[in-house]
């Protein structure tokens, strides 16, 4: 969009002329994107920049914010990789094996996308609490799951579950079995076949899924806010911190931490695009 502004003047004027004569089918989506996406993003970034670099830095790196980033990113990263491993396994099982209820299980993998996040948080808080079906199994061991960082992790596992499965599944389906058989005929062990033959072509898709899951987990609010105790320095995540700052009418605090989160989300979006481009080159 801004590429034209660096061009020479007549082209710029020409571009303006073209814009005025554009049909409505161009103007409608452009205007909508401008008002719905561009303007809000710019509003946040400009508002954050009015704080000045020194104040921005001191708010963005206040101890409570730093600890919220630590909880958010460490939990999101670990859960993204756990879902990477299990997502790969689920995709493999769904593509290669036949077993009862396979169709239903395949469809149910998308449930976290369709289930409202507050419902997910509510049911996790019940199931994983001390008296819950699963939480009561851990309570005698002295492990509290709900309302701790474990609860945050479980919520993130649930909401980012479908990503790796859905990115890897089509790649696995397209993969020819002959390649594995060839590797096997040439004397490769099962493990070598998996590591050297199967994994490389799946890798871009799996990493894309992991990055998508990580990005989603970092921004997650609804399920985590219910299943965590939202205590600072313990299980408070950054999006909840933004919300709390807003509730206290601390607009600078909310804006600065929100801008940090926005910057990280946009960086992740670029990374995901690069991973997808890598995947296409592979295919």
């Amino acid at each position: 969009m801004s590429a034209t502004s660096s061009d020479s003047n007549p082209i710029w004027r020409n571009w303006l002329g073209v814009t005025a004569r554009l049909p409505w089918i161009w103007i409608l989506p452009t205007a909508y994107l401008f008002f719905m996406l561009f303007l809000p993003t710019v509003a946040l970034l400009l508002k954050a920049s009015t704080e000045g670099p020194a104040r921005f830095w001191s708010i963005a790196t206040s101890p409570i914010a730093l600890d919220a980033y630590r909880v958010t990113f460490s939990t999101a990263l670990v859960t993204a990789f756990i879902n990477g491993v299990f997502g790969l396994l689920i995709a493999w099982v769904l593509v290669r094996y036949e077993f009862p209820f396979k169709k239903i299980i395949d469809a149910a993998v998308d449930l976290p996308f369709a289930l409202p996040t507050s419902v997910a948080g509510l049911t996790l808080a019940t199931v994983y609490s001390e008296n819950g079906w699963i939480g009561s199994l851990f309570a005698p061991l002295g492990i509290k799951l709900a309302f701790t960082q474990w609860g945050v992790a479980i919520a993130m596992l649930l909401i980012s579950l479908p990503f790796v499965v859905r990115t890897v599944q089509p790649v696995l389906t397209d993969l020819e079995r002959e390649i594995e058989e060839a590797a096997w005929c040439l004397g490769a062990s099962k493990f070598q076949t998996f590591w050297r033959v199967l994994l490389p072509p799946i890798m871009p898709a799996a990493l894309t899924g992991i990055a998508l899951g990580f990005s989603r987990a970092v921004g997650e609010y609804g399920s985590v806010v219910v299943v965590s105790s939202n205590t600072p320095y313990k299980d408070l995540i950054a999006p909840v911190l933004v919300f709390q700052r807003l509730e206290q009418y601390d607009y600078s605090g909310a804006t600065v931490i929100g801008a940090v989160l926005l910057g990280i989300s946009l960086a992740l979006l670029v990374l995901i695009n690069l991973l997808q481009a890598w995947g296409r080159r592979y295919g």
Binding site: M1, A3, I25, W26, L28, P29, Y32, L33, M36, L37, P40, T41, A43, L44, K47, V85, L89, I90, V93, Y97, I105, A107, A108, V109, D110, L111, P112, F113, A114, L115, P116, T117, S118, V119, A120, G121, L122, T123, V127, I134, L158, L161, S189, K190, F194, V218, G219, G222, V225, V226, P239, V242, L246, Y251, A254, T255, G258, L261, S265, L269
Partner: protein, 293 residues
């Protein structure tokens, strides 16, 4: 991967022993692990929603459904979806058409920008809308002067919902349009059809399943959105409370039963969405097979 190793080694030993059975053990082990993980993370929590909602029988459940706060939440959820979904459908169709049919500078960038609402945290999305339309926001003084309330009112909630559901339709329709190509549209044009006729008679029938798929996902997210709406609504009971907000608020007030009564409705919506999604996927698959033969 640690859990995979033993089973893989077992099958390795089996292949040298020329037996079929241990290979099955690897398969059974992998399937069991996958299903066990899904059970812990997904199936048990999902089942729990239904068990809790009807734990005291159908009577208390139905009684909870007649509460005024609950009924207002249902009404508001439907109103917001009824505005946000059509608006984003029209935008999505136009955007998809432009992106799929035209080659312009920055096209790849626009496709990436479309994904921004998916990667931004819902709370940050809500914050952006507050910073634009809130009291101290850019448009705040103007809105106040004209006595228009957006934040803590319906318009803000619609804006927040429209923001988080913006990409769905465009993302589903773009690949369908690209695959469709322009041959039929050009043929219609040569035969004298005008743009509207081409759209209604040629393009729309071909993209209808992809479009419905996008609308379905938009609606599911619109009715289930929590974070962004939570920021802009102020969560005022009976006034700016949607069903997902009602669930959280009831839970916080220790009214677990009403929380689950609302939650089960939202869970049913999710299940219906998945069933319709499966049907639509099958429809498009059948069409592909037909075209192949």
């Amino acid at each position: 991967m640690a859990s995979l190793d033993p089973s893989l080694k077992a099958s390795e030993a089996a292949s040298t022993a020329k037996e079929v059975k241990p290979r099955d053990w690897a398969k059974i082990g992998l399937i069991t692990t996958a299903v066990l993980y899904l059970t812990l993370i997904l199936f048990i929590p999902a089942l729990n929603v239904f068990v809790q909602a009807f734990s005291k029988g159908i009577g208390p459940f139905l009684a909870n459904l007649t509460e005024p706060a609950f009924q207002n939440a249902v009404k508001l959820t439907f109103i917001i979806a009824a505005i946000a979904v059509p608006v984003n459908t029209i935008f999505g169709l136009c955007a998809a058409w432009v992106i799929a049919r035209k080659r312009f500078r920055g096209r790849a960038l626009v496709i990436s920008i479309l994904d921004v609402p998916f990667s931004v945290s819902p709370v940050v999305a809500g914050l952006m809308i507050v910073l634009l339309y809130g009291r101290n926001g850019w448009f705040g003084p103007f809105l106040e002067a004209h006595d228009i309330k957006i934040i803590f009112a319906l318009p803000g909630m619609v804006l927040a919902t429209a923001f988080v559901t913006l990409p769905f339709v465009a993302r589903e329709v773009i690949p369908v349009l690209e695959e469709l190509g322009t041959d039929q549209e050009e043929a219609a044009q040569t035969l004298g059809a005008n743009n509207w006729q081409i759209f209604w008679r040629v393009t729309l029938p071909s993209i209808r399943w992809g479009l419905l798929y996008g609308v379905l996902l938009t609606n599911a997210r619109a009715m289930g959105e929590f974070g962004a709406i939570s920021v802009v609504s102020g969560n005022i009971a009976s006034k700016t409370q949607t069903l997902p907000l009602f669930v959280e608020e009831s839970y916080k007030q220790y009214e677990t039963e009403s929380a689950y009564s609302a939650a089960v409705l939202l869970a049913l919506l999710a299940v219906v969405t998945l069933v319709l999604k499966e049907i639509l996927e099958r429809k498009t698959r059948i069409k592909e097979v037909k075209e192949d033969t």
